[in-house]
Symmetry: C2
Subunit: 203 residues, 2 copies
C-alpha cells in the first residue's frame, strides 16, 4: 500500500473504533424528557445560544415562550425576528433595563416579579415545548426573584417541556437542579479591544 | 430612613457608580468592523449560539450565509427553519456526516474542500453581513482543510462582514486571529446522565 492509502486505512480503523464507542453511548441514552438547560459564565454566546435553540424548535413547528428579564438599551434583532411568528412564539420583554441604568431597586423588583408571573404562565401551558428565560440569572443575583420559588415553579412544569435559563452567575442551586449546564468562558472579547457592540452580533 | 429604603438608596448609589464605569467602557469602544468570532470547547451551545446570531441578523434584515461542515444524522430544526428565508439566507450543508460515520478520509476531504469553496464564495460577497462556518474546527482538526488557507481567506473578506466559526478544538492560530472567542465548558450534560439528544434542543 502507498503511504497515503495506509493513512486512509488507519483513519478508517480508528473511526470504526470511535463509531463503536459513540454508538454504545447513544444506545445507553434512552430517556426523553423536558430538560432544564443553564447557560452561564462571562463569555459571549449565552443568549444567542438560547435564541438558536428557539430557532431550531421553530424548525420543528414547536410552540415557544421567551421572557427577557433584562431589556437591552436598543431594540434587538432577536425581538424583531421572533415577533414575526406570533402563532408560534410568545415573546415578552419584561425587564426594565440593566440595573445600573434604572438605579431603582423597587421598580426593578416589581418588573422582575411581573416577568416571573409570565414565565410561570408559560410553564403551566402544556402546548409550550420550549421556554427561554433570558437573563433570569441577573434577576436571581440581585434577589429580584427568589431561587426557591423559581426552582419550585420550574420543577412543576409539564414533563416534556424544555426550559433554558441564561445569564452570568447562575446560582449553585439552579446548577444543581439543571440537566445540562454550559459555562461560557471569555478567551477574548472584541469589546475589550475597543470595538463597539454591533448589530447582528451583540443585539 | 427605614432599613428597606436605606438598602434601596445604597443600591442606587452602587448602580450609579457601576453606570459610570460601564458608560466609560462603552465610550472607549468606538470601532465598528466585521468580527471573527470563534465558539469552541466541549460544552453545549456552540452551534446554537451561531444560529442565534443568524436569527438576530435576520431581525436586522441582513443577508446571511451558513455552511455546515458536518452534516448531522438527522435532518435538523435549524436547517428546516433557515431554509424558510431563501431571500435572506444561503444555507449549505456540505459535510458528509461525522468522520466516525463515514470512515472514509478521502471522501471527507473532497467534501470539506467543496464546503470551503462555498464558504469562500460567501466571504467574497459584499452583500453578505454574516457567515456561519458551523463545525469548521472539526474539518481543521482532521486536516481536511488547511489553517493557513482558511486564515488567508477569512482575512480577505469584506471589512464589515462578520464570520462565526464553531466546533470543538479551535486551533491556536484561529484563536489568535479571532476578535471574540468563547470557550464553552461542560459543567454537566444530560446526555451523560442517559438522556437522548432531543428535538429542539440538540437538533
Amino acid at each position: 500500500m502507498s503511504e497515503s492509502s495506509e493513512r486512509d486505512e488507519r483513519h478508517r480503523q480508528r473511526m470504526q473504533r470511535k463509531k463503536a464507542v459513540v454508538d454504545e453511548k447513544i444506545a445507553q441514552a434512552r430517556e426523553e424528557r423536558g430538560l432544564l438547560l443553564v447557560l452561564t459564565g462571562n463569555g459571549k454566546g449565552k443568549s444567542s445560544s438560547a435564541f438558536g435553540m428557539a430557532a431550531r424548535a421553530l424548525g420543528h413547528d414547536m410552540q415557544i415562550g421567551i421572557v427577557q428579564f433584562i431589556k437591552g438599551a436598543a431594540s434587538t434583532g432577536e425581538e424583531h425576528f421572533f415577533r414575526r411568528f406570533p402563532e408560534q412564539v410568545r415573546y415578552h420583554v419584561m425587564g426594565a433595563g440593566f440595573t445600573w441604568e434604572t438605579q431603582d431597586r423597587q421598580d426593578d423588583i416589581v418588573k422582575a416579579q411581573a416577568a416571573w408571573a409570565v414565565a410561570v404562565e408559560l410553564m403551566r401551558d402544556e402546548s409550550v415545548a420550549l421556554v427561554v428565560l433570558d437573563e433570569l440569572n441577573i434577576a436571581l443575583k440581585y434577589g429580584y426573584v427568589q431561587l426557591d420559588q423559581v426552582l419550585a415553579d420550574i420543577a412543576a412544569r409539564p414533563s416534556h417541556q424544555h426550559v433554558v435559563v441564561t445569564g452570568r452567575g447562575a446560582p449553585p442551586g439552579l446548577i444543581e437542579a439543571a440537566d445540562t449546564v454550559t459555562e461560557m468562558g471569555v478567551v477574548k472579547h472584541a469589546f475589550k479591544a475597543g470595538i463597539k457592540a454591533q448589530k447582528g452580533v451583540e443585539f
